[in-house]
Symmetry: C2
């Protein structure tokens, strides 16, 4: 039975799976992705782990290829470029696909950025199954995007298309974003952005909030407080949802997708985000799209989705 | 020699041409597009004019098909839907391609919106020749867009993709746009939007300006005054260019085009728009694109471009 390997390279850990044609993960493992300063060391260890995993899965002769999702990965060139969260790929260009393929005795390796991999996973196994046009927005520590047009990931002229997290939501006096610009979607609608909004609002007002008892505040804290009825926390979600929804309308007017799929940590705050996002999106769409574009939450298990998406690349 | 007919349906007039495979317009004519309340009457007259023009061109047996660019036209369905500027297509859906094809004894008719037709013209005969990824922005009475991805016009799930003129540039207290929303790109960066900026600035300040002598102000007046060194007029172009450039950065981060092509009336204000647009675009791009995306002005004669673009659809 033909199988492929899916690899999700994250800022903290790297998840691997041997996946069959139906999307079943037959064997899986995790290794650390930090603690390496040289890409070659990481790729050596990753290669060894891939070999161990293939052995363990009992499908040694059946592996057709390897698909990798990684930050700042380029599908066209096979490179990871200036990935700030990966010390071994920061301020440099790593020929990742080529080096990993060499390490795996020539097994074909395909690479794409993590949000694109998630979009492929969603299209192959998730809520976007059968859709030809949709936009995946990943709401994690950052905001990523994978855009699907005519059933294919949109890569653009250089392989980097779909950096929607760095489109502007606050034009004047916006927050500084990790990219060096100000007012980016990512600076407000990521898990980190949402927590920052909560902290700013606590500093700016005297409003009662369960969050005041906490030393540091994470997006999970804001969610937990909202669940317990905390008004300030609910308003933080409303504000975050409105900014996201306003921007989604711009995206819809670009590529006319059938659906927007939200994925990642913040997307789990379903009830608190859904309505504000949907309302703001529809309020900012011209009549031909108002009320017509689906807003969906990914239903794939987050850890699986990344591996499945990456593996789907390899077929 | 095989030929096609290109038709550009505008708010005032409808331009036609018989075009050969090299993009030579062998015969052309113009009819009015207003004064009709029923689509069938317009299509009857248009059909008769197409027949006359084909006769005149001497290529009666050679015509392979007809391509039409029109406001709110849908490539997938062949319909014109709710085109506010065309009384015979306002608040209704006109099966334009089907009806015109019937009128022309079954000659195949393909239709797309006017900005998409301009993009096809630019890709086939203009500055975007050979480009696989670019975005055409038409700066006329409105702001239209045609997005090319992998060498094809992006139509999206419903045929309406690329309504970038209605993406938001002023989020709060923005101008009312013809679409019913506020703050749209079109409300600021169209010829009408630019003239309105000039009028607002004249009302708000006492600043000296050549424009103060005029009864009504058009974008052409602002351009003429800028040419004569009028500071306020130059600042109006800078402001308009900045808003456009900021938004272009968002578009680049969506589809990673090789170039943005500006087309239409305002694009003729080249020197006054170019630098502000380019500067604002680059200031709002993440490092991977800064300074790398071409900003081009269409070099096609405007009247020809629309016909050529529409004709290119018919091949």
């Amino acid at each position: 039975m033909a199988c492929v390997v899916g690899i999700d390279v994250g800022g903290q850990s790297c998840k691997l799976g041997v996946v069959d044609a139906r999307g079943e993960i037959l064997a899986g493992s995790v290794i650390g992705s930090t603690g390496y300063t040289e890409a070659s060391d990481f790729i050596d260890n990753l290669g060894a782990e891939v070999e161990r995993l293939i052995e363990k899965s009992g499908h040694k002769g059946d592996i057709r290829g390897v698909g990798v999702g990684a930050p700042n990965a380029n599908y066209y060139t096979g490179e990871i470029k200036d990935a700030t969260n990966l010390p071994w790929a920061s301020n440099r260009t790593v020929r990742f696909a080529e080096l990993l393929s060499e390490r795996l005795s020539g097994l074909p390796v395909t690479i794409t950025n993590d949000a694109n991999a998630a979009a492929v996973g969603e299209m192959t196994y998730g809520v976007a199954k059968g859709m030809k046009h949709f936009i995946m927005i990943t709401l994690g520590t950052g905001v990523g995007s994978g855009i699907v047009v005519d059933g294919k990931v949109l890569y653009g002229s250089d392989g980097f298309a779909g950096e929607l997290g760095h489109n502007c939501v606050v034009r004047h006096n916006g927050r500084l974003c990790g990219c060096g610009k100000t007012g980016c979607l990512e600076a407000y609608c990521s898990a980190i952005g949402l927590a920052r909004t909560a902290r700013e609002w606590l500093d700016m007002t005297d409003e009662h909030s369960l969050l005041r008892d906490l030393d540091d505040i994470t997006s999970k804290d804001v969610y937990d407080a909202a669940l317990r009825g905390d008004e300030l926390s609910k308003k933080v979600f409303e504000f975050t949802g409105r900014l996201l929804g306003e921007k989604l309308a711009d995206f819809v007017q670009f590529s006319a997708p059938e659906a927007i799929v939200l994925f990642g940590g913040l997307a789990r705050a379903g009830e608190f985000l859904y309505q504000p996002v949907l309302d703001a999106m529809n309020a900012n769409l011209i009549p031909i799209w108002k009320g017509k574009v689906k807003l969906l939450f990914s239903e794939l298990k987050e850890s699986d989705a990344a591996i499945l998406g990456a593996s789907a690349l390899a077929w």
